[in-house]
Symmetry: C2
Amino acid sequence: METTLTINQLSRRSGVAASALRYYEERGLIQSERRGSGHRRFTRATLRRLAFIVFAQRLGMSLAEIGAELEKLPTDHVPKGADWSLLSGPWSARIDERIAELERLKTGLAQCISCGCLSLEFCRLVNPHDKAGALGPGPHYWLGDKSSND
Amino acid sequence: METTLTINQLSRRSGVAASALRYYEERGLIQSERRGSGHRRFTRATLRRLAFIVFAQRLGMSLAEIGAELEKLPTDHVPKGADWSLLSGPWSARIDERIAELERLKTGLAQCISCGCLSLEFCRLVNPHDKAGALGPGPHYWLGDKSSND
DNA sequence: CTACAAGTTCAAGTAAACTTGAAGTCAAGA
DNA sequence: TCTTGACTTCAAGTTTACTTGAACTTGTAG
């Protein structure tokens, strides 16, 4: 039994389309060795890397951000539990923040939207610490105007 | 004092770019009256509608989905608290689901990814009830292959 | 040896959610 | 009246994350 995987094997095992895998490789998120013919071979460790990528996407991260995170993994050996754990601390915090925001939204939905008090106040709900920024597509900046005098 | 808002006034108050407001109007998410000149005038109620739109986007909904939700509001009068409340029930549930997923992800980050047990198992974390589907961009289907015999 | 499945590259297409630019019209203060 | 600044439309461009198709090569089972 071979210890490496072809692109379609990896695709089947991970659920990520082969075209996406090629794309990820092109973006530097995963790596492969090439056979003489040019065919890719992936190590099984790539499965974990992919799990992390999918995971992070569900958290709303862009591939660019994910790539930056993955660069924190050591390159001198195959990353193991301890290496992944290094990432997981900040990530738990990240998830907690997101959960906290959702809780605020939920409260706001009940109180603020339904009662009719709503206008600019809503911004504090969505983004209480004024860090409008790279939040993906969509309007990025309730609270964008600091000196609102109208 | 005018009771209606120009597009730039609405933009400043909502934090949503004027170009985005035109786009939303084109998509039917908001409405405006037109002056003889063709200039748009928005009612203040539009602010609440916008708040809802931004809110929903933060929950990861597409404009199409948001539009569908907004259609549930009555058109025979300006929606008030009670009307918005009608939407808020299902929405709380929606938020709760999302929070639950994040909790699962958090657990999984600690246990599954970092310990090394990971591969296909991860799917159950991301999508425990096998409803891979329209989850936005990204690989949609850990668990996409029911009959994995390799 | 011959199919045919599986692999390759590269360019172009897609979808969502906007933004930008051009070219022109309208409104308001000095 | 003149001159900005705000507004209009419409077409085209942008970004992210891929997918699709064409044209071609490799690998393998019979």
